[in-house]
Amino acid sequence: MRLRGAIAAACVVGLGIAGYLTYVHYAHTAPVCTTGGCETVQKSKYAELAGVPVALLGLVAYGVLLGLAVVRGVEAALAGVFVAAVGVVFSGYLLWAQLGPIGAICQWCLGNDLTIAVVAALYVVRMLTETAE
Protein backbone atom coordinates (compact mmCIF):
# COMPACT_ATOMS: atom_id res chain seq x y z
CA MET A 1 0.00 0.00 0.00
CA ARG A 2 2.86 2.32 0.94
CA LEU A 3 4.67 1.53 -2.27
CA ARG A 4 1.58 2.18 -4.38
CA GLY A 5 1.12 5.44 -2.50
CA ALA A 6 4.68 6.46 -3.37
CA ILE A 7 4.05 5.56 -7.01
CA ALA A 8 0.87 7.62 -7.02
CA ALA A 9 2.69 10.59 -5.49
CA ALA A 10 5.46 10.41 -8.12
CA CYS A 11 2.81 10.17 -10.85
CA VAL A 12 1.12 13.31 -9.54
CA VAL A 13 4.47 15.13 -9.85
CA GLY A 14 4.77 13.80 -13.41
CA LEU A 15 1.22 14.89 -14.18
CA GLY A 16 2.10 18.37 -12.98
CA ILE A 17 5.15 18.62 -15.24
CA ALA A 18 3.46 17.09 -18.30
CA GLY A 19 0.32 19.13 -17.68
CA TYR A 20 2.29 22.36 -17.54
CA LEU A 21 4.20 21.55 -20.74
CA THR A 22 0.96 20.59 -22.48
CA TYR A 23 -0.60 23.88 -21.44
CA VAL A 24 2.47 25.79 -22.69
CA HIS A 25 2.28 23.94 -25.99
CA TYR A 26 -1.35 24.77 -26.69
CA ALA A 27 -1.19 28.26 -25.22
CA HIS A 28 1.77 29.07 -27.48
CA THR A 29 3.62 30.63 -24.58
CA ALA A 30 7.18 30.20 -23.44
CA PRO A 31 7.72 27.91 -20.45
CA VAL A 32 9.27 29.33 -17.29
CA CYS A 33 12.90 28.39 -17.73
CA THR A 34 16.20 28.79 -15.92
CA THR A 35 18.26 26.66 -18.30
CA GLY A 36 17.47 28.95 -21.24
CA GLY A 37 16.66 26.17 -23.67
CA CYS A 38 13.07 25.24 -22.80
CA GLU A 39 11.48 27.21 -25.60
CA THR A 40 13.94 25.88 -28.15
CA VAL A 41 13.17 22.33 -27.06
CA GLN A 42 9.42 23.05 -26.99
CA LYS A 43 9.53 24.40 -30.53
CA SER A 44 11.80 21.68 -31.89
CA LYS A 45 10.44 18.92 -34.05
CA TYR A 46 11.11 16.49 -31.19
CA ALA A 47 8.34 18.15 -29.17
CA GLU A 48 5.76 16.34 -31.26
CA LEU A 49 5.32 12.75 -32.28
CA ALA A 50 3.18 12.26 -35.37
CA GLY A 51 1.67 15.65 -34.69
CA VAL A 52 0.86 14.91 -31.06
CA PRO A 53 2.75 16.94 -28.43
CA VAL A 54 5.01 14.61 -26.44
CA ALA A 55 3.92 16.52 -23.32
CA LEU A 56 0.35 15.33 -23.97
CA LEU A 57 1.60 11.77 -24.41
CA GLY A 58 3.37 12.14 -21.07
CA LEU A 59 0.20 13.43 -19.47
CA VAL A 60 -1.70 10.39 -20.69
CA ALA A 61 1.09 8.03 -19.59
CA TYR A 62 1.20 9.47 -16.08
CA GLY A 63 -2.57 9.22 -15.92
CA VAL A 64 -2.40 5.54 -16.83
CA LEU A 65 0.43 4.96 -14.35
CA LEU A 66 -1.57 6.69 -11.62
CA GLY A 67 -4.58 4.55 -12.45
CA LEU A 68 -2.48 1.39 -12.28
CA ALA A 69 -1.10 2.50 -8.92
CA VAL A 70 -4.53 2.24 -7.33
CA VAL A 71 -5.20 -1.20 -8.79
CA ARG A 72 -3.90 -4.19 -6.88
CA GLY A 73 -2.29 -7.26 -8.39
CA VAL A 74 0.73 -8.45 -10.32
CA GLU A 75 -0.94 -7.70 -13.65
CA ALA A 76 -1.33 -4.04 -12.76
CA ALA A 77 2.29 -3.95 -11.60
CA LEU A 78 3.42 -5.56 -14.84
CA ALA A 79 1.42 -3.12 -16.93
CA GLY A 80 2.92 -0.31 -14.87
CA VAL A 81 6.44 -1.58 -15.52
CA PHE A 82 5.71 -1.68 -19.24
CA VAL A 83 4.22 1.84 -19.44
CA ALA A 84 6.93 3.30 -17.20
CA ALA A 85 9.65 1.55 -19.22
CA VAL A 86 8.21 3.03 -22.41
CA GLY A 87 8.39 6.41 -20.67
CA VAL A 88 11.98 5.92 -19.55
CA VAL A 89 13.17 4.78 -22.99
CA PHE A 90 11.34 7.59 -24.75
CA SER A 91 12.64 10.13 -22.23
CA GLY A 92 16.15 8.82 -22.93
CA TYR A 93 15.57 9.44 -26.63
CA LEU A 94 14.42 12.99 -25.91
CA LEU A 95 17.41 13.58 -23.63
CA TRP A 96 19.67 12.45 -26.46
CA ALA A 97 17.85 14.88 -28.79
CA GLN A 98 18.40 17.75 -26.34
CA LEU A 99 22.08 17.01 -25.92
CA GLY A 100 22.58 16.35 -29.62
CA PRO A 101 20.46 17.69 -32.47
CA ILE A 102 18.58 20.35 -30.51
CA GLY A 103 21.59 21.55 -28.55
CA ALA A 104 19.44 22.97 -25.76
CA ILE A 105 18.35 21.65 -22.39
CA CYS A 106 14.88 22.00 -20.91
CA GLN A 107 14.66 21.86 -17.14
CA TRP A 108 11.11 20.56 -17.29
CA CYS A 109 12.24 17.67 -19.45
CA LEU A 110 15.02 16.84 -16.99
CA GLY A 111 12.46 16.95 -14.19
CA ASN A 112 10.28 14.59 -16.15
CA ASP A 113 13.25 12.27 -16.81
CA LEU A 114 13.91 12.04 -13.10
CA THR A 115 10.24 11.54 -12.27
CA ILE A 116 9.62 8.79 -14.82
CA ALA A 117 12.83 7.04 -13.69
CA VAL A 118 11.57 7.08 -10.09
CA VAL A 119 8.13 5.82 -11.17
CA ALA A 120 9.73 3.03 -13.22
CA ALA A 121 12.00 2.00 -10.36
CA LEU A 122 9.05 1.92 -7.95
CA TYR A 123 7.02 -0.16 -10.38
CA VAL A 124 9.92 -2.63 -10.73
CA VAL A 125 10.08 -2.96 -6.96
CA ARG A 126 6.31 -3.37 -6.87
CA MET A 127 6.44 -6.01 -9.57
CA LEU A 128 8.96 -8.03 -7.55
CA THR A 129 7.21 -7.66 -4.22
CA GLU A 130 3.50 -7.49 -5.06
CA THR A 131 1.53 -10.26 -3.42
CA ALA A 132 -0.30 -12.45 -5.89
CA GLU A 133 -4.09 -12.13 -5.71
Binding site: H28, K43, K45, L49, A50, L78, F82, F90, M127
Partner: protein
Protein backbone atom coordinates in the same frame (compact mmCIF):
# COMPACT_ATOMS: atom_id res chain seq x y z
CA UNK B 1 13.45 -14.36 -6.19
CA UNK B 2 10.50 -15.52 -8.30
CA UNK B 3 12.00 -16.52 -11.66
CA UNK B 4 8.67 -16.10 -13.47
CA UNK B 5 8.34 -12.54 -12.30
CA UNK B 6 11.88 -11.73 -13.33
CA UNK B 7 11.11 -13.12 -16.78
CA UNK B 8 7.90 -11.07 -16.97
CA UNK B 9 9.81 -8.00 -15.87
CA UNK B 10 12.49 -8.52 -18.50
CA UNK B 11 9.84 -9.17 -21.12
CA UNK B 12 7.95 -5.97 -20.25
CA UNK B 13 11.10 -3.87 -20.42
CA UNK B 14 12.21 -5.48 -23.70
CA UNK B 15 8.75 -4.93 -25.16
CA UNK B 16 8.89 -1.29 -24.08
CA UNK B 17 12.22 -0.82 -25.84
CA UNK B 18 10.85 -2.41 -29.01
CA UNK B 19 7.67 -0.30 -28.91
CA UNK B 20 9.59 2.96 -28.52
CA UNK B 21 12.07 2.00 -31.24
CA UNK B 22 9.24 1.22 -33.67
CA UNK B 23 7.33 4.38 -32.80
CA UNK B 24 10.43 6.56 -33.27
CA UNK B 25 11.28 4.80 -36.52
CA UNK B 26 7.77 5.27 -37.89
CA UNK B 27 6.73 8.63 -36.50
CA UNK B 28 9.95 9.94 -34.97
CA UNK B 29 11.70 13.13 -35.93
CA UNK B 30 8.49 14.94 -35.17
CA UNK B 31 5.75 16.41 -37.24
CA UNK B 32 7.88 19.22 -38.55
CA UNK B 33 10.15 16.69 -40.20
CA UNK B 34 7.18 14.91 -41.67
CA UNK B 35 5.90 18.23 -43.00
CA UNK B 36 9.29 18.90 -44.55
CA UNK B 37 9.30 15.55 -46.30
CA UNK B 38 5.79 16.08 -47.57
CA UNK B 39 6.48 19.48 -49.00
CA UNK B 40 9.68 18.29 -50.56
CA UNK B 41 7.90 15.64 -52.54
CA UNK B 42 4.46 17.06 -53.15
CA UNK B 43 4.04 20.60 -54.38
CA UNK B 44 1.28 21.49 -52.00
CA UNK B 45 2.16 23.11 -48.69
CA UNK B 46 5.07 25.45 -49.33
CA UNK B 47 4.20 26.66 -52.78
CA UNK B 48 0.60 27.71 -52.67
CA UNK B 49 1.01 29.26 -49.23
CA UNK B 50 4.12 31.12 -50.29
CA UNK B 51 2.36 32.29 -53.43
CA UNK B 52 -0.98 33.26 -51.87
CA UNK B 53 0.54 35.26 -49.01
CA UNK B 54 2.26 37.53 -51.48
CA UNK B 55 -0.07 37.33 -54.48
CA UNK B 56 -0.67 40.81 -55.83
CA UNK B 57 1.69 42.47 -53.35
CA UNK B 58 4.45 44.49 -55.02
CA UNK B 59 7.91 43.07 -54.51
CA UNK B 60 11.16 44.59 -55.61
CA UNK B 61 14.49 43.10 -54.64
CA UNK B 62 14.38 42.68 -50.84
CA UNK B 63 11.36 44.92 -50.27
CA UNK B 64 7.79 43.75 -49.94
CA UNK B 65 5.03 46.30 -50.38
CA UNK B 66 4.53 49.65 -52.01
CA UNK B 67 7.65 51.78 -52.25
CA UNK B 68 5.50 54.72 -51.14
CA UNK B 69 4.52 53.07 -47.86
CA UNK B 70 5.44 55.58 -45.15
CA UNK B 71 6.82 53.11 -42.61
CA UNK B 72 9.52 50.50 -43.15
CA UNK B 73 9.62 47.32 -41.10
CA UNK B 74 13.04 45.71 -41.40
CA UNK B 75 13.31 42.06 -40.46
CA UNK B 76 16.65 40.46 -39.67
CA UNK B 77 16.35 36.75 -40.16
CA UNK B 78 18.20 33.52 -40.80
CA UNK B 79 16.57 30.76 -42.88
CA UNK B 80 17.71 28.17 -40.33
CA UNK B 81 16.21 30.01 -37.36
CA UNK B 82 13.10 28.23 -35.96
CA UNK B 83 11.61 31.44 -34.57
CA UNK B 84 12.01 33.14 -37.92
CA UNK B 85 10.10 30.25 -39.40
CA UNK B 86 7.39 30.67 -36.80
CA UNK B 87 7.04 34.37 -37.53
CA UNK B 88 7.11 33.94 -41.29
CA UNK B 89 4.62 31.09 -41.38
CA UNK B 90 2.25 32.12 -38.60
CA UNK B 91 2.38 35.90 -38.48
CA UNK B 92 3.70 37.34 -41.72
CA UNK B 93 0.48 36.53 -43.63
CA UNK B 94 -1.48 38.66 -41.13
CA UNK B 95 1.05 41.47 -41.34
CA UNK B 96 0.95 41.38 -45.13
CA UNK B 97 -2.83 41.36 -45.19
CA UNK B 98 -3.41 44.13 -42.66
CA UNK B 99 -0.42 46.40 -43.06
CA UNK B 100 1.35 45.77 -46.36
CA UNK B 101 -1.63 45.36 -48.68
CA UNK B 102 -3.17 48.47 -47.17
CA UNK B 103 -0.03 50.44 -47.93
CA UNK B 104 0.73 51.26 -44.30
CA UNK B 105 4.12 49.61 -44.24
CA UNK B 106 6.67 47.94 -46.46
CA UNK B 107 8.90 45.16 -45.22
CA UNK B 108 12.61 44.89 -45.94
CA UNK B 109 14.41 41.55 -45.66
CA UNK B 110 17.80 41.49 -44.02
CA UNK B 111 19.27 37.99 -44.06
CA UNK B 112 22.08 37.43 -41.60
CA UNK B 113 24.01 34.34 -40.58
CA UNK B 114 23.27 33.46 -36.99
CA UNK B 115 22.89 29.69 -36.93
CA UNK B 116 25.72 28.38 -39.12
CA UNK B 117 27.39 28.15 -42.54
CA UNK B 118 24.42 26.40 -44.16
CA UNK B 119 22.49 29.64 -43.64
CA UNK B 120 24.74 31.31 -46.21
CA UNK B 121 23.50 28.91 -48.90
CA UNK B 122 19.92 29.72 -48.02
CA UNK B 123 20.55 33.47 -47.89
CA UNK B 124 22.29 33.46 -51.26
CA UNK B 125 19.30 31.64 -52.74
CA UNK B 126 16.84 34.03 -51.09
CA UNK B 127 18.69 37.13 -52.25
CA UNK B 128 19.09 35.64 -55.72
CA UNK B 129 15.30 35.17 -55.82
CA UNK B 130 15.13 38.88 -55.00
CA UNK B 131 16.70 39.55 -58.37
CA UNK B 132 13.56 37.92 -59.79
CA UNK B 133 11.45 39.97 -57.36
CA UNK B 134 10.36 36.85 -55.50
CA UNK B 135 12.59 36.99 -52.44
CA UNK B 136 9.73 36.71 -49.97
CA UNK B 137 8.14 33.80 -51.81
CA UNK B 138 11.34 31.79 -51.79
CA UNK B 139 12.07 32.69 -48.19
CA UNK B 140 8.68 31.39 -47.09
CA UNK B 141 9.01 28.27 -49.23
CA UNK B 142 12.35 27.54 -47.56
CA UNK B 143 10.87 28.04 -44.10
CA UNK B 144 8.21 25.51 -45.00
CA UNK B 145 11.01 23.04 -45.59
CA UNK B 146 13.11 23.98 -42.58
CA UNK B 147 15.02 21.13 -40.96
CA UNK B 148 17.20 20.90 -37.88
CA UNK B 149 19.66 23.69 -37.30
CA UNK B 150 23.00 22.94 -38.96
CA UNK B 151 21.78 19.59 -40.29
CA UNK B 152 22.61 20.67 -43.82
CA UNK B 153 18.97 20.74 -44.93
CA UNK B 154 19.55 23.70 -47.27
CA UNK B 155 20.67 21.70 -50.27
CA UNK B 156 20.45 22.44 -53.97
CA UNK B 157 17.54 20.07 -54.13
CA UNK B 158 15.67 21.90 -51.37
CA UNK B 159 16.32 25.20 -53.09
CA UNK B 160 15.28 23.79 -56.46
CA UNK B 161 12.01 22.40 -55.09
CA UNK B 162 11.25 25.65 -53.29
CA UNK B 163 12.08 27.71 -56.37
CA UNK B 164 9.90 25.60 -58.62
CA UNK B 165 6.93 25.86 -56.31
CA UNK B 166 6.99 29.62 -56.14
CA UNK B 167 7.74 30.18 -59.81
CA UNK B 168 11.36 31.26 -59.47
CA UNK B 169 13.69 30.28 -62.30
CA UNK B 170 16.07 27.83 -60.66
CA UNK B 171 18.73 28.05 -63.34
CA UNK B 172 18.80 31.84 -63.09
CA UNK B 173 18.73 31.69 -59.31
CA UNK B 174 21.77 29.40 -59.20
CA UNK B 175 23.58 31.67 -61.64
CA UNK B 176 22.76 34.74 -59.56
CA UNK B 177 23.45 33.22 -56.15
CA UNK B 178 27.19 33.79 -56.33
CA UNK B 179 27.17 37.15 -58.04
CA UNK B 180 28.64 40.29 -56.54
CA UNK B 181 25.14 41.74 -56.26
CA UNK B 182 24.07 38.96 -53.88
CA UNK B 183 27.34 39.10 -51.95
CA UNK B 184 26.80 42.83 -51.55
CA UNK B 185 23.31 42.18 -50.15
CA UNK B 186 24.72 39.75 -47.59
CA UNK B 187 27.37 42.26 -46.60
CA UNK B 188 24.84 45.07 -46.38
CA UNK B 189 22.64 43.02 -44.05
CA UNK B 190 25.59 41.99 -41.87
CA UNK B 191 26.87 45.56 -41.67
CA UNK B 192 23.46 46.90 -40.78
CA UNK B 193 23.01 44.20 -38.14
CA UNK B 194 26.38 45.09 -36.68
CA UNK B 195 25.63 48.80 -36.72
CA UNK B 196 22.35 48.37 -34.89
CA UNK B 197 23.52 45.74 -32.44
CA UNK B 198 21.41 42.94 -33.86
CA UNK B 199 22.70 39.67 -32.48
CA UNK B 200 19.74 37.36 -32.78
CA UNK B 201 16.94 36.52 -35.16
CA UNK B 202 14.30 37.42 -35.81
CA UNK B 203 14.94 41.05 -34.94
CA UNK B 204 12.52 43.72 -36.11
CA UNK B 205 13.15 47.40 -36.66
CA UNK B 206 10.83 50.22 -37.56
CA UNK B 207 11.60 53.39 -39.42
CA UNK B 208 8.96 56.08 -39.71
CA UNK B 209 9.15 59.00 -42.13
CA UNK B 210 12.13 61.13 -41.06
CA UNK B 211 12.37 58.96 -37.97
CA UNK B 212 15.31 57.00 -36.65
CA UNK B 213 15.75 53.30 -37.23
CA UNK B 214 14.78 51.66 -33.98
CA UNK B 215 14.22 48.11 -32.84
CA UNK B 216 10.68 46.90 -32.39
CA UNK B 217 10.39 45.14 -29.07
CA UNK B 218 7.96 42.23 -29.20
CA UNK B 219 7.02 39.94 -26.37
CA UNK B 220 5.89 37.15 -28.68
CA UNK B 221 5.79 36.21 -32.33
CA UNK B 222 2.14 35.20 -32.52
CA UNK B 223 0.00 37.35 -34.84
CA UNK B 224 -1.95 39.06 -32.03
CA UNK B 225 1.09 39.83 -29.90
CA UNK B 226 3.18 40.99 -32.83
CA UNK B 227 0.55 43.22 -34.39
CA UNK B 228 -0.17 44.80 -30.99
CA UNK B 229 3.50 45.79 -30.76
CA UNK B 230 3.43 46.97 -34.36
CA UNK B 231 0.31 49.05 -33.75
CA UNK B 232 1.94 50.67 -30.73
CA UNK B 233 5.02 51.50 -32.77
CA UNK B 234 2.95 52.95 -35.60
CA UNK B 235 1.07 55.33 -33.31
Amino acid sequence: MDRTRLLMLGGAIAAAVVVVAVVIAVAGGGSKSARTTTTATTPSTGGPEAVSTFAGVPQRDDTLGRASAPVTLTVFEDPQCPYCREWNIDTLPTVVQNYVRTGRIKIVYRGIVVIGPNSVDGLRAVYAAGLQNKLWNLSEALYERQGDENSGWITLRTIRDAAREVGVSYSRLIKDANTKAVTAKLRQAANQAGAYGVNGTPTFAIQKPLGAFRQLQVSGLEPGVFTAALDAALR
